[in-house]
């Protein structure tokens, strides 16, 4: 884990810090609630929680501008909340209800929002990487200066299509940031057992794509790296790789007992490297916020999350007719290019 350079001298305002704290805590509390609802049988199937990784997506969203696009894997709840999607719609999709983002037809792994430029939510490991590259292809074709974030994990980094994407993004200079969220376990397989090189960010080198290692437990470090990557892409320099070292506290999915790592390892990360605790200390020690201020934020978030759970429980199941809708489009979907 890289050291936390940013802690000493944060180059952001108190309000920004508080926003990151809010956004990260929202993801954590939301995910904890989702875990709870799963245990109650209200959420079914696969449910991959983002707890521990919050700084990655919040830091990168802080570097993004309106109109930038993002696409990710199945561990996607955090990304949706961070880009401003409605927690009610996300939670109701988890419970498979009419009020969910996909009317209950997508589930945890498949949600989308045109409005927020969120392109899924993909269940096949690595498949979102060429898709994200294609979003960037479209933006370059259309002549705007948008940037796309293609998020994937250290596990997906061993899929062939990732390198097919690197190659095309490099030869066509596409404005795509490949974000490798390295949580160190591809499901249950530790990186050293699955990945030939420890430094995944260097895998762009043969393609001429610059790469950078980032401390993913430090939201400001992530934001700073994100800004650099965004500037690179937006100026027409082509793709950029960020390997963001992070850690997932929970199992791969709800049914994972996580026997492949020790309790001590997880405890160590939670106690010494927690990204939310880190920013909390920064706020308090820098006198950017009082304990009461933070309690207020905690309370606001608790309300949002509880409301989303209520909404997700109360929203009706989709009508049976929905089985037969949205298989084919009648007209070309409007795009927000």
């Amino acid at each position: 884990m890289a050291t936390r350079k940013s802690a000493a001298k944060p180059n952001v305002s108190a309000d920004e810090l508080k926003t990151y704290y809010h956004d990260m805590l929202l993801i954590r509390r939301f995910e904890e609630k989702a875990g709870q609802l799963y245990g109650m049988g209200l959420i079914g199937g696969f449910c991959h929680l983002y707890i521990g990784q919050e700084a990655v997506v919040v830091g990168l969203e802080a570097a993004a501008e309106e109109g930038d696009k993002r696409v990710t894997s199945y561990r996607d709840h955090g990304h949706m909340l961070a880009c401003g999607m409605d927690p009610n719609g996300v939670m109701a999709e988890l419970t498979g209800r009419e009020g969910g983002y996909s009317k209950g037809k997508g589930g945890s792994m498949h949600m989308f929002s045109k409005e927020k430029h969120f392109y899924g939510g993909h269940g096949i490991v690595g498949a979102q990487v060429p898709i994200g590259t294609g979003l960037a292809f479209a933006d370059k074709y259309l002549g705007n200066d948008r940037v796309s974030f293609a998020y994937f994990g250290d596990g997906a980094a061993n899929q062939g299509q990732v390198y097919e994407s690197f190659n095309m993004a490099a030869i066509w200079k596409l404005p795509v940031i490949f974000v490798i969220e390295n949580n160190q376990y591809a499901m249950g397989t530790a990186q050293k057992r699955s990945t030939s090189s420890a430094e995944i960010y260097k895998r762009g080198e043969p393609f001429g794509i610059p790469g950078q290692l980032v401390d993913g437990m430090d939201v400001l470090a992530v934001k700073e790296a994100g800004e650099k990557a965004v500037a690179h892409c937006r100026s027409g320099e082509g793709p950029y790789i960020l390997e963001v070292k992070t850690y997932r506290y929970r199992g791969h999915s709800m049914s994972d007992p996580a026997k492949y790592r020790t309790r001590e390892e997880v405890q160590n990360m939670r106690e010494k490297h927690d990204p939310i605790e880190h920013i909390r200390q920064m706020l308090i020690e820098g006198k950017h916020a009082t304990e009461d201020d933070l309690k207020e934020i905690d309370k606001t978030i608790k309300d949002i999350v509880n409301k989303s759970a209520d909404f997700a429980k109360e929203s009706p199941e989709p009508a049976l007719e929905e089985l037969w809708t949205d298989i084919y489009a009648d007209e070309i979907p409007q795009h927000n290019a």
């Binding site: 996909s102 096949i124 060429p130 590259t133 097919e164 190659n167 949205d326």
Partner: protein
């Protein structure tokens, strides 16, 4: 003894070509590797090299000659010590006689139904364009190219990407000329990276473009099938209708000629299986054009299955500024009363040949071209079967889980009482495609098998 230089076969499907230009003249000395001539196939212009060394004794086929059949002697090469006087020995040889005779008979041969050339067919007035519309002959290849060019002119967000589509002008010349007209931004050569560029194109479609993805053949699309099915076909549903992938995946599908098991598969039934995809498999050039234009305009992912052998085949195409053919409308190529033969794509060649031969024996076959496999025009098939009470299906794909199987089940469910015989499915054989010419011919469906099936269901 002087050596004959023969017209070479320069592609798996080449039967004849144009001797575009001689690069040598009589009396020139040539050695192995020298370029003798430029030969134009329907796909490309290729240089033809000398294999042996010697002197060009005589040029037998003038440059500019079209329709020179493969293996026709085009020149005579003299070895050291031989002179032009020795050439007589060659022309007196029995093989040469035969070649000349073949050349004379060439026009007649063209009319006969050769193994891979269909009998001429007469279509009835089409419901797809107004009566009296001017028609002109066009190859399927040209029709496909025109369809793309017209749609690219109409919508700047339509673009083509694939291997060799731009500078090479298309591996099968289907995209010929598009780079010149639309430039490299809209006609994009990709690396050999099917999974990658299929996924990239899905992303581009999500992002507001209308990609036409050319697979050099659909055999290579197996590398990309996850993106086609999991990403392109399912996203509209998974997103609750918020976004989908308006795009076309196109390219040659099925067997060409002698290209072996990994390059010869027909994927019609595979793709037709998938909700969220539309699947088109045209036979004629007019259908290829009208359906491809429709596919490009369709807001859904469309699988457009072409056929290498059909690319060079000419059909009448309406001369209209703009015409499309709707999906889900079969075409009745000939009406009949005794049996319904249902096919699509190159299968139509066997269906129509069989119908012609059956007519000579007094059996009247109605021949239906499905044209699209998703949606499928059940109504036209069922109405025909209710009239003829018998049905034979024809396709080149594997038998298990075939389109014919599906039609049989549908007919059984919806027209059981009308059937006077079980439906027979004529398909490719349940074997990987062999290379040997004789085995390959038998691995594919044959006209004789269609005729035999019709006789069986009509109890003749």
């Amino acid at each position: 003894m002087p050596t004959e230089i023969l017209m070479p076969a320069l592609s798996p499907t080449m039967e004849e070509g144009t001797l575009a230009k001689w690069m040598v003249k009589e009396g020139d000395t040539v050695s192995s590797g020298d370029i003798l001539a430029e030969i134009e196939t329907d796909k490309a212009t290729m240089e033809f090299e000398a294999v042996d060394e010697g002197t060009i004794g005589k040029i037998l086929i003038e440059e500019g000659t079209e329709g020179v059949k493969v293996n026709t002697p085009i020149a005579v090469l003299l070895e050291e010590g031989e002179s032009a006087d020795d050439i007589g020995a060659v022309s007196a040889a029995p093989e040469a006689d035969k070649a000349e005779a073949d050349a004379e008979e060439a026009p007649a041969a063209a009319e006969a139904p050769a193994a891979s050339a269909p009998a001429e067919v007469k279509s009835k007035a089409s419901p797809d364009w107004p009566e009296g519309t001017e028609m002109r002959e066009q190859t399927v290849r040209e029709a496909l190219r025109d369809a793309m060019a017209e749609e690219m002119r109409a919508d700047t967000n339509v673009y083509v990407m694939g291997e060799e589509v731009a500078e090479y002008q298309g591996a099968y010349k289907v995209t010929q000329g598009l780079l010149d007209e639309f430039g490299p931004k809209r006609v994009v050569d990709t690396p050999i990276t099917e999974h990658g560029f299929a996924g990239l194109a899905v992303g581009a479609a999500f992002g507001g473009l209308k990609p036409i993805v050319e697979f050099m053949t659909f055999n290579f699309a197996m590398q990309a099938i996850d993106q086609i099915i999991n990403s392109a076909a399912k996203t509209l549903y998974m997103s609750g209708g918020q976004m989908g992938a308006p795009m076309v995946f196109r390219g040659p599908n099925g067997a060409a000629a002698r290209v072996g098991a990994q390059h010869s598969q027909d994927y019609a039934a595979w793709y037709a299986h998938i909700p969220g995809l539309k699947v088109v498999m045209p036979y004629s050039a007019a259908d290829a054009k009208g359906l491809l234009k429709q596919a490009i305009r369709d807001p859904n992912p469309v699988i457009f299955l072409e056929n290498e052998i059909l690319y060079g085949r000419s059909f009448e195409v309406p001369v209209l500024e703009d015409f499309t053919i709707p999906f889900g409308k079969a075409r009745i190529w000939r009406e009949g009363t005794d049996v319904t033969i249902v096919s699509f794509g190159i299968g139509m060649q066997y269906a129509l040949e069989a119908a012609d031969k059956l007519a000579d024996e007094g059996i009247s076959a109605e021949v239906i071209d499905l044209r699209t496999l998703r949606p499928i025009d059940y109504d036209t098939v069922l109405a025909s079967v209710m009239k003829t009470n018998r049905c034979v299906t024809v396709e080149e794909g594997f038998p298990v889980g075939s389109i014919g199987n599906h039609l049989s089940a549908t007919i059984m469910e919806r027209a059981f009482d009308y059937l006077d015989a079980p439906v027979i499915n004529c398909t490719g054989k349940d074997v990987p495609m062999p290379y040997a010419a004789n085995l390959e011919k038998h691995a594919l469906v044959t006209t004789d098998e269609v005729i035999a099936a019709v006789k069986k269901v009509t109890y003749r």
